[in-house]
Amino acid sequence: MIDAAPTPGRKDVGTLAVASLFIGLGLVTLHDVTTYSDRDSVVFPTFVACALIFCSVLVIIRSWLWPSPHNGFGSGDWWRRLLLVVTMLAACLVMPFSGFLPATAIAFAGGLVAARHEGWDARSAFVFAASGVFIMAGFYALFRFALGVPLP
């Protein structure tokens, strides 16, 4: 799926949506502070939530009156973007059960597939897989044994 290029003159829906989400976040924060026991914890988030709501309202007004035609997701393959992020998140979910290396291998494989635009053959698949094993093993050894990080 390829995006269309932004057309001038249309409303900047993305900016309006983001600013509306910020307002929602501010309102949720104002509700959340009512559950705190100490007054010292309340003052700062309350002030910040009000500032966020105020700035977001101004962003909406400005964006409504003067929409920017340059904003938008731009061109590019959506499935590649999603594959990259989803495999990285999947690695985090699997990590406590499978251990660090098998989990990050999922993210690495996802990244390889997402970033390869030239197509695959047996040779390139072998070379990139071998490079991946080498890189992951090298960094794993550095962090686990040299830097003493307790990787799962």
Partner: protein, 504 residues
């Protein structure tokens, strides 16, 4: 202080330690997620069996190398290797994208060496008088300092100040997530155990700067960095000429870095951003900051390396660490049996002065090693195929973020925040104001609450917030930094109008 201390610093052992420290620090600092604090902490155990002066030289060299190393990934991958290099991404990555990455790396090296030398010189000549500055800063001064930092949003948000302010407020809100520092209330976690630990700044930095780049890289088949044809020569001379032309910027940024380094808790990230903002504020009309302007790299790198010497001033004179790595070094000194304080410069003066000369040597050694490592880092990143670069960097973001607190939750937050940051950036909400809010939020909140409690107890709230001379000075600077862009744009408009009239 005499030549005996210089001779002590120049022994073969100390020279070898300084060289090893600079190289190790540069490599560790260039890996996203491994901060200067971690580089120093990881290598501290090596120093326990050494003489105190040699141990200090090694730790100082690691620290200064790590701060510089952060520039590599900031320039070549748009990911600050350390938080101090946030400002380096603004112009470094655009330079790398247009094929000037080698020039940017060389400029960063010269600026880091210059800043490091100024910081070390301040440590040598002005340590006792300057350390009193740190003592004069109370909670309310930190509050105003953080508000001054937040006012930089105006200059950091290119194009849309309103979106910058909204992003800054979003960052401040993110800094509230987790257990409150003062009262221990659990805030904005919505019952999720993932969020209780709060949002770790380095993880957030990796997410907000690196993940959007990876998402953009996979979407299209274009190369990640422009490659110049014909294999041109190394651009050391060109970088040196640019650095010489911007010597005022280098000096100003180094002084800013030294002074901010003296203030406990502020650190290289704040120093780099303040220096960047000042460089942008005083820029010539033809300079385009944020689009690959060498002065932006020089300001950030000179300032963050100057914090090394600056941070050692309160550490050695008062026993108050100026920056987080200084706290680790202070701990290592205590293990060695060295007691910091004003008497260190008298009774144990030989250790201190040998260390200061060692810091000078380490900073000088950073020039050849930094240029050499930088050259190979640039060539590697430019020539490596995107197919392997993307998963390798993705893997490094995961392992680097995990290593900070050994927490999978931090990695989940990093990826989520990065994806959100990518969407926000597509609609004009830049990452820098969010990061600024995230960094300055805890400093502002702590300063505000403490000042409020003290003012309330003494019955003089207004006097507490607005009656102290240093606070008033910072307030004046804040107002100036907020108004200056408006005044400058009016002046430019008036000049353009006058030019148009004269042409007619």
């Amino acid at each position: 202080m005499d030549f005996e201390h210089l001779a002590n610093a120049l022994t073969l052992t100390n020279l070898a330690l300084a060289l090893f420290g600079v190289v190790a620090g540069t490599i560790i600092g260039s890996i996203p997620g491994l901060s200067a604090t971690m580089a120093v902490a990881v290598l501290v155990p090596i120093t326990f069996s050494m003489a105190p002066a040699s141990a200090l030289i090694l730790l100082g060299a690691i620290y200064t190398g790590a701060i510089y190393g952060g520039a590599y990934s900031a320039i070549l991958l748009n990911t600050p290797g350390t938080p101090s290099a946030i400002g380096t991404t603004f112009d470094g990555y655009p330079m790398a994208k247009r094929g000037d990455g080698d020039l940017a790396v060389a400029i960063a090296c010269y600026a880091s060496v210059f800043g490091g030398m100024v910081g070390a010189l301040a440590l040598l000549l002005l340590a006792p008088p300057l350390s009193s500055v740190a003592l004069a800063f109370g909670p309310v001064e930190y509050l105003w300092l953080s508000i001054f930092g937040l006012s930089l949003i105006a200059s950091l948000s290119t194009g849309n100040v309103l979106k910058g302010l909204a992003g800054g407020a979003f960052g401040l809100l993110l800094s509230c997530v987790g257990v409150a520092e003062i009262s221990a209330d659990i805030r904005l976690t919505f019952g999720s155990p993932t969020m209780i630990g709060g949002i770790e700044v380095v993880g957030a930095l990796i997410g907000l700067y690196c993940i959007p780049v990876l998402i953009d890289l996979v979407a299209t088949p274009e190369r990640h960095l422009k490659v110049e044809q014909g294999g041109r020569a190394v651009r050391f001379r060109e970088a040196a000429a640019i650095a010489w032309r911007s010597r005022v910027n280098l000096l100003r940024s180094s002084v800013i870095g030294t002074v901010i380094g003296i203030l406990p808790g502020a650190g290289g990230s704040v120093a780099g951003l303040v220096a960047y903002s000042e460089a942008k504020r005083t820029a010539r009309p033809d300079q385009k900051f944020g689009e690959g302007e060498p002065d932006g790299i020089m300001a950030t790198e000179a300032a963050n390396n100057a914090t090394v010497g600056g941070g050692f001033i309160p550490t050695l004179v008062l026993g108050i660490p100026g920056t987080p790595p200084d706290a680790v070094i202070l701990g290592a000194l205590l293990v060695q049996g060295v007691r910091t304080g004003p008497t260190l410069f008298e009774g144990g003066g030989s250790i201190v002065y040998t260390f200061i000369f060692g810091l000078f040597i380490a900073t000088i050694l950073m020039l050849p090693t930094g240029l050499l490592i930088g050259r190979y880092a640039y060539k590697t990143i430019v020539t490596i195929p995107k197919t392997i670069l993307v998963p390798a960097v993705g893997f490094m973001t995961i392992i680097g973020t995990f290593a900070i607190r050994n927490s999978v939750s931090d990695v989940v937050i990093m990826i989520t925040l990065g994806s959100v940051g990518w969407v926000l950036s597509r609609f004009g909400f830049a990452a820098s104001p969010i990061v600024l809010g995230l960094i300055l939020g805890p400093i502002a909140e702590q300063g505000f609450v403490q000042a409020w409690i003290i003012g309330d107890a003494t019955g003089n709230l207004a006097g507490m917030f607005f009656g102290r001379p240093i606070s008033l000075g910072i307030i004046a600077f804040t107002i100036l930094s907020l108004l200056y862009p408006v005044i400058q744009s009016r002046r430019t408009r008036r000049l353009l109008k006058m030019q148009a009239n004269s042409n007619d």
